[in-house]
Symmetry: C2
Subunit: 144 residues, 2 copies
DNA sequence: ATGTTAAAAGAGTCTTTTGTCTTAATATGA
DNA sequence: TCATATTAAGACAAAAGACTCTTTTAACAT
């Protein structure tokens, strides 16, 4: 089991890939799919979610593709995760209890609530521009 | 997407349930299943994994059931998670990259490696006896 | 207009996880 | 020995997640 779904992994990697290109032109999904090794049609649907949520913008036809809808410093990884994941991992009980919360906690609530808040703020503070610079450098990578 | 699988949630809840009973007798799986609202046959297989890993012990026939194989203070939640989850969530890359590590990190590695280590040690320090006491009290609960 | 490029949309398949059902194996007690 | 209680094991079904394929829509170029 992973923290986030495959779809979410792909969405994050694609967004970082687009941000790392630097220019403001539209990147064809086919290019992203090829370079990151992600199924084209599957990736298309994930990116659709991100455009529908106002994080990316798309353009059809020749020299069309996908681009960031806002400045890279204004898009956090948290927004991307929230747009793709249907269940909010940052507010669900680690034992799966529906009514778990501060008032009626499960045995792990006190511990897990702290951790998940920390992770949430970590994802919230990571923006596309911060992470994409070392990718453009070649210091960090998005593929195996 | 959740941090741990349903199987793992059930395994943790069942282990805490057994520990909270306090006595050393065998608890029939049917009782656990009924009280926690978990499918009997499904739970049986999860508990089998825990007995095979030496965390629980089982006994067949009348007045048989499941019991802790060791003292409650000697069983951590981390051991239970490790026995049930096939992939180790505490060592996998958050972006799903196979070779992500300190030498060839993904863009999130530095951040996520810290978080997952913290969670791992948190699960490692939580033992069944620590968490089961407030359950026996009725302060904390294992069901909705 | 027509053809080409590219995203959007939707149906369908495969795999994994979750859950159910049936049969065996083991222990107890009358 | 026989009925009963209980875990073990394995086949099967349902649901969700991951992925594929086909058709449609939009934009551009000639």
């Amino acid at each position: 089991m992973a923290l986030i779904s495959k779809s979410c992994e792909y969405g994050l990697r694609a967004a970082l890939f687009i941000a790392a290109r630097g220019d403001n032109g539209f990147v064809p999904i086919h290019d992203i799919s090829r370079d990151l090794g992600i199924s084209f049609h599957f990736l298309t649907k994930i990116l659709q979610k991100l455009t529908q949520n106002g994080l990316l913008k798309s353009y059809r036809g020749p020299s069309g593709g996908i681009a960031l809808a806002r400045k890279a410093h204004d898009i956090s990884l948290l927004e991307i995760v929230r747009a793709i994941e249907e269940h909010d991992i940052f507010s669900t009980c680690v034992l799966g209890l529906k009514n778990c919360g501060d008032s009626t906690p499960c045995p792990l609530h006190q511990h897990w609530a702290r951790e998940r808040t920390r992770i949430e703020s970590s994802f919230g503070s990571m923006t596309l521009d911060k992470l994409s610079k070392p990718i453009a450098n070649g210091t960090l990578r998005l593929t195996d």
